[in-house]
């Protein structure tokens, strides 16, 4: 049930996420190697516009990307189609976006927990 538009959206979001994911993994390696604690990490990310944009675009992209991906799987393997498929896909996107935003705020908003 992928038409050109959904396909493009999925590929574009994938392309956005690829460097972000690499960046994230790199940071984690650096953090773990440097023996940083969670609090130390958060101390650097909270209040940083860079990390807000970094993880913000990841959250946006992944919500779209995963929703489209699950939509395909639901259609092909669970036989969902038509309206119910759209509703569920939008639902997934919304849940991911909501939870992602919450996490984003927690991690990058100034004055979050430390």
């Amino acid at each position: 049930m992928l038409d050109l538009r959904l396909y493009m959206l999925q590929r574009i979001t994938a392309l956005i996420m690829a460097p972000l994911t690499l960046g994230h993994i790199a940071v984690m390696i650096y953090a773990v190697q440097g023996g940083l604690t969670a609090a130390e990490i958060l101390g650097r990310t909270q209040g940083s516009a860079f990390w807000f944009l970094f993880y913000g675009s990841f959250v946006l992209a992944v919500s779209v990307h995963a929703a489209i991906g699950l939509r395909v799987i639901l259609h092909e393997m669970a036989g969902l189609k038509g309206r119910s498929l759209s509703v569920v896909s939008w639902g997934i996107a919304a849940v991911l976006l909501a939870m992602g935003t919450q996490a984003l705020v927690a991690v990058t908003w100034p004055g979050g927990a430390s």
């Binding site: 392309l15 958060l42 995963a66 799987i73 997934i92 991690v107």
Partner: protein, 112 residues
């Protein structure tokens, strides 16, 4: 019947789908844990402590490994779709990426 389709490209597809699905299931969890930082910091600390346990650690790294697998798989796919390479070149590229994933994966697991 499944053996009928057990050829490399099909296996690559299955791997990509399974990893994508696993990521999609894991991601909300990950978000939830992180958001604890905002709502109930002490739970986050608790949780982070919990993640120090080897089993959990392994699972976490497994998921990061999945992310790498899925990402390289996805990049491989987009290369197949968009780059007008010949079939052998694509096979080579996919092979190279696979090897890269393996090496970086093991390296990563060693570091931590």
């Amino acid at each position: 019947m499944s053996y009928a389709r057990a050829h490399p490209l099909w296996l690559a597809f299955v791997l990509h789908r399974v990893s994508g699905l696993a990521l999609a299931l894991f991601l909300p969890l990950h978000f939830w844990v992180l958001s604890l930082a905002l709502t109930r910091p002490e739970r986050l600390d608790q949780f982070l402590g919990f993640t120090e346990q080897p089993v959990v650690k392994l699972a976490e790294f497994g998921l990061i490994f999945l992310l790498a697998v899925h990402m390289f798989g996805g990049l491989r796919l987009m290369a197949m779709e968009w780059l007008p390479w010949s079939a052998p070149q694509k096979t080579l590229a996919a092979g190279a990426v696979g090897v890269a994933v393996l090496i970086s994966g093991t390296f990563f697991l060693q570091v931590v």
